[in-house]
């Protein structure tokens, strides 16, 4: 009764199920500022959507979800547009380099192996680091609230980035940084995102928190803003070159995810930075373990269609 035929995917789906998937991923997107591509695409493939269509339609729905999320965070004053634009410029350059890298790797025949291993290592490293760091932060907050005001000794990393040229002040993030930092880090994330075939939110968020030292709530809004532009680009490119964007699928997903993102933003406001980080870290670790198991256990079918991640 609730089925709907998707013309590009060439498959019928249950509307309620797809709407629910969208809402769940949108919720996470609103809370953490990650696009959710690394969760949504595998889930859609699990429900029989061809991998190429799943990835491209997911980009289309992320456009909707991140618009809604960016809008909500903008109202709360959580979007650093200056930083977002610089990261975006770097990200586009990095994405172009990444696509070339993957083309060369594919020619040597080692691409898939390297992509998966990079995935597991990145997720594992980011997940463990964030988890331990925020756990430490939570303990510290509980134990010594009074000592917080004590001026911290400047780290070597802070000294190093302070020495870089073209320092400017970012009002929203309340930090002074060299213009080179977001540009170079944007390139780095762009390369990784293109290689892994995802929006890059789950790499961008830790980069903003730990390397750019932005406050967590500004990180989320700014990350969504940057993801919005990345996914607009991907959607149009995929529709033009591969005809893999299923608009009907994306529409159902985005109604679910836009609603989910709104609730997510409200939840995000109620949690403190360390709580947010520890939940995101756990999520990243779960995905990492799932991928690791996928690498270690024998698959039920030893062939698959070309396309997808």
């Amino acid at each position: 009764m609730w089925n709907l035929y998707l013309p590009i995917a060439g498959h019928s789906v249950n509307i309620v199920l797809i709407f629910g998937l969208g809402a769940l991923v949108g919720l996470l997107s609103g809370i953490f500022g990650v696009g959710g591509g690394f969760l949504m695409t595998p889930l859609l493939i699990m429900f029989g959507i061809p991998p190429t269509v799943a990835a491209a339609s997911d980009s289309n729905q992320i456009v909707g979800a991140s618009t809604s999320g960016t809008f909500a965070h903008y109202r709360l004053g959580n979007v650093d547009f200056k930083m977002g634009f610089l990261l975006l410029i770097g990200g586009v350059a990095g994405g172009t380099i990444g696509v070339e890298v993957i083309r060369i790797l594919r020619a040597t025949g080692n691409a898939d192996f390297l992509i998966k291993v990079t995935y597991v290592l990145m997720l594992g490293f980011v997940g463990f680091y964030m988890f331990l760091e925020s756990l430490h932060g939570l303990k510290k907050t509980k134990a010594t609230v009074v000592v917080e005001k004590k001026p911290k000794k400047e780290s070597t990393y802070a000294k190093l980035i302070g020495m870089l040229p073209w320092q400017i002040y970012f009002d929203k993030s309340r930090i002074k940084l060299s213009i080179l930092m977001p540009l170079v880090l944007g390139v780095f994330v762009g390369i990784l995102a293109a290689i892994m075939g995802v929006g890059g939110g789950f790499i961008m968020v830790p980069v903003m928190v730990y390397l750019l030292r932005m406050p967590m709530h500004v990180v989320v809004g700014t990350s969504l803003f940057q993801i919005l532009f990345t996914c607009i680009d991907v959607t149009i490119m995929q529709a033009h070159s591969n005809h893999t964007v299923d608009f009907v699928l994306a529409l159902i997903l985005l109604i679910g995810s836009s609603l989910g993102a709104q609730f997510g933003t409200r939840i995000s406001k109620k949690l403190n930075g360390d709580q947010l980080k520890i939940i995101l870290a756990s999520l990243v670790l779960i995905v990492m373990v799932k991928m690791l198991l996928g690498l270690l256990l024998e698959p039920s079918v030893l062939l698959s269609f070309v396309g997808g991640h």
């Binding site: 013309p7 289309n60 618009t67 025949g109 609603l259 269609f305 070309v306």
Partner: protein, 261 residues
């Protein structure tokens, strides 16, 4: 004289034999498929083809749905460094139908369970497909790759063998009726397929009939497909604009409802 009578006898018996064959293929085989056009609208969730007809009463029936041949490029998974399951290169499988559903009678299915070569002898099963198909590179273990290919197609409901769906009805004189409900999945190929009927006797096909079935998108799916495939960039821009508008609308709606709290 005796020689002539003997020759005449042989000619008569041979003639009768061919006549019987002609009777089998021309008169005792009827075949109806409904509908002959599968229309894919916005609520399409697969379709049921009702196939019925008659075969000689001493034969067994097989109904087969077979699509157009395609050449596929697939990723092959294997163990890298003896530990990790990865895509380890590409495989090409050429000359395989996009859909193949086989509905044998129960008696035939049981026979094939006891004799592994039944389908190979008939030449219409998955085994015969393997013999005709090309697997590249040639160095691959064709039989192993083909087994995995059938599993992959079966996971999409596109390759199946269903023994319980075909049933027989009344026997009237030299013929008996049969019917089968063929369940087509929602991902049925859009370029149509053939519905085939085979009458089998003593492990051999003695008569067959074919009907072409068309598949066509109608209404909204047809319009969306046309825009996506003929004007890709415009389609992409429209998809993005609607996604942004939907995001803003949800944002505004929530702002208003949020203000009421």
């Amino acid at each position: 004289m005796l020689k002539r009578i003997l020759m005449g006898g042989i000619i008569l018996i041979t003639g009768l034999f061919f006549m019987v064959g002609a009777v089998y293929s021309a008169e005792n085989l009827t075949f109806h498929v409904s509908p002959e056009l599968v229309a894919i609208g916005i609520r399409f969730d697969g379709a049921t083809l009702h196939i019925s007809g008659t075969i000689p009463s001493d034969c067994e029936a097989i109904v087969r749905i077979i699509g157009h041949n395609q050449n596929l490029s697939l990723k092959k998974k294997g163990k890298a460094m003896g530990l990790l399951w990865m895509n380890l290169g590409k495989i090409e499988i050429n000359g395989v139908p996009d859909i193949m559903l086989i509905y044998p009678s129960q008696a035939l299915y049981k026979l094939s369970e006891n004799d592994n070569n039944t389908w190979e002898k008939l030449g219409i099963g998955f085994k015969s497909l393997e013999d005709k198909a090309d697997v590249l590179p040639k160095t691959e273990d064709k039989s192993k790759i083909f087994k995995e290919f059938i599993k992959l197609k079966a996971s999409l409901d596109l390759y199946e063998k269903k023994p319980d769906n075909l049933t027989y009805g009344d026997v009237s004189g030299a013929v008996k009726s049969f019917k089968v409900a063929v369940e087509l999945p929602s991902n049925v190929p859009h370029d149509g397929f053939n519905a085939e009927l085979y009458a089998v006797k003593d492990g051999k096909i003695i008569a067959e009939a074919v009907k072409k079935i068309k598949v066509k998108e109608i209404g909204i799916p047809a319009q969306i497909s046309s825009l996506a495939f003929n004007h890709g960039t415009l389609y992409g821009v429209i998809a993005v604009v609607i996604a942004i508008l939907a995001g803003i609308i949800v944002g505004v709606v929530f702002k208003e409802s949020g203000g009421a709290h």
